[in-house]
């Protein structure tokens, strides 16, 4: 029988306390309440008493995995409460060699979706990597419409496409929230922060925003885990996933079925090659 929301919450607290009691874990990364009922904020429980502040409900939306990067060389483990998407984010960062598995204690929780549109497209409700699992694994769904939006957009004329994106990037305020929330954006120093190289202008105008958006899409396109954090955090509501999904769609079309953040050894597409790759440049 599936656990109720409240049961899972109690289990999370119990597991968090157990983890802290081992003495190997410095804090448990989960969620807690804010003054608004529909906003649950990331929370870092460091004591047993704080574990009782951890919550689990349909508004626990924020990703938890990326916070493990705050300290890349921790003296103690981070315990992370991980849904399917968070576990994929962890796999992403492990594979990118940004984290060490032995520095993590993963409390996996089966998640049946949150108040977030991206959850409807979720293909991995069960955590893929964990040390302890809360909840019974549920059957996974295949999202038939994963690329439907991209396919529809591809039909527009070049000028219509450009016009659409230009309008979107006019709204962009250059806050880098998408980058900072993205588990695939895990470079120690982002190209956009290397201001002396001149890749990225500091001004927030259409061209600079477009260049940023495109460069970011290309940088993370073959490593995107489709968690939708970029779109959720965007204060101006840009459809950022539409860019990375395009990359993923092409990768699937050209180089075979591909999904990131899985617990296998597959290289990111742009980090490898096969002799059998299609060739258009002859």
């Amino acid at each position: 029988m599936a656990l109720s929301e409240k049961d899972i919450e109690l289990k999370i607290r119990e597991e968090a306390k157990k983890a802290l009691a081992t003495g190997e874990v410095s804090c448990v990364i989960g969620w807690t309440t804010t003054r608004f009922p529909d906003k649950m904020k990331p929370f870092f429980a460091e004591t047993e008493a704080e574990c009782d502040e951890l919550v689990w409900n349909k508004y626990c939306i924020n990703g938890t995995a990326k916070y493990a990067l705050d300290d890349r060389y921790p003296s103690k483990k981070f315990a992370i409460i991980a849904r399917g998407c968070d576990s994929r984010a962890i796999n992403r960062m492990l594979k990118d060699k940004q984290l060490l598995r032995e520095n993590l204690y993963i409390i996996g929780v089966v998640c049946d979706g949150k108040e977030n549109p991206i959850c409807e497209e979720c293909q991995h409700k069960n955590p893929l990597t964990y040390d302890v699992l809360i909840g019974e694994p549920v059957p996974e769904q295949i999202d038939e419409k994963r690329f439907a939006e991209v396919e529809a957009f591809e039909k527009l004329s070049p000028d219509e496409k450009y016009e659409y994106w230009a309008k979107q990037y006019d709204k962009c305020i250059h806050c880098y929230a998408c980058r900072n929330a993205c588990p695939a954006c895990n470079c120690v120093e982002c190209y956009a922060d290397q201001y002396r190289t001149g890749w990225q202008g500091k001004a927030s105008d259409r061209i600079q925003n477009q260049v940023y958006g495109l460069t970011r899409a290309f940088h993370v396109g073959d490593r995107c885990i489709e968690c939708g954090e970029c779109e959720r955090v965007c204060p101006m509501g840009l459809p950022i996933m539409r860019q990375t999904r395009k990359m993923l769609k092409d990768i699937n079309d050209l180089f075979g079925d591909y999904e990131c953040g899985m617990p296998d050894d597959a290289m990111p597409v742009l980090g490898g090659y096969t002799l059998a790759d299609p060739d258009e440049f002859m």
Binding site: P158, Q210, L214, A217, G221, V269, Y273, D277, P278, E280
Partner: protein, 151 residues
């Protein structure tokens, strides 16, 4: 209208050429007194996989009307595997640019070996003609480089 759109307008095309093949091919074209359009500016790179996708964006930003990346045929890379990475990278880049409204003709890639002087000439001539037909590029270009910019 400005000078850019009149009949004398010539596109600015940037060609990134691999040192070990296409650059030699272009050199051979010169030795053989082959004629190709002078609106192509060649930048020599150690390998076609040296070309960062940001170079392409940068070129459009700074007023180029087209970009061409040329490298060794698959299997012939001086560094054994460089051009296999190029192949994946730019097949995706071309599609992403198209998705963002850049005509795929404006960004092309081609394998040209050191002995294929004629292929270099033909490629460059064809690309140049195609881009000339498309007209000046205004997409992604900084206002300074497009008409109407406050120069």
């Amino acid at each position: 209208m400005s000078v850019k759109t009149n009949e004398n307008w010539e596109p600015k095309i940037l060609a990134f050429c691999c040192n070990w093949c296409t650059y030699t091919g272009a050199d051979l074209a010169g030795l053989n007194r082959m004629k190709y359009p002078e609106n192509v500016r060649v930048i020599r790179v150690p390998c076609s996989s040296r070309v960062n996708p940001q170079f392409i964006l940068r070129a459009f930003q700074k007023g180029c009307d087209g970009v061409l990346v040329c490298g060794c045929h698959p299997g012939d890379c001086h560094y054994a595997t460089g051009n296999y990475f190029t192949r994946r990278r730019f097949m995706l880049m071309q599609r992403l640019l198209e998705y963002n409204g850049i005509d795929p003709k404006r960004f092309q890639a081609k394998w040209i070996s050191g002995s294929e002087a004629a292929k270099f000439r033909d490629t460059v001539t064809k690309v140049s003609a195609e881009i000339k037909a498309l007209g000046p590029n205004t997409k992604f270009a900084e206002p300074h480089f497009t008409e109407g910019g406050d120069k």
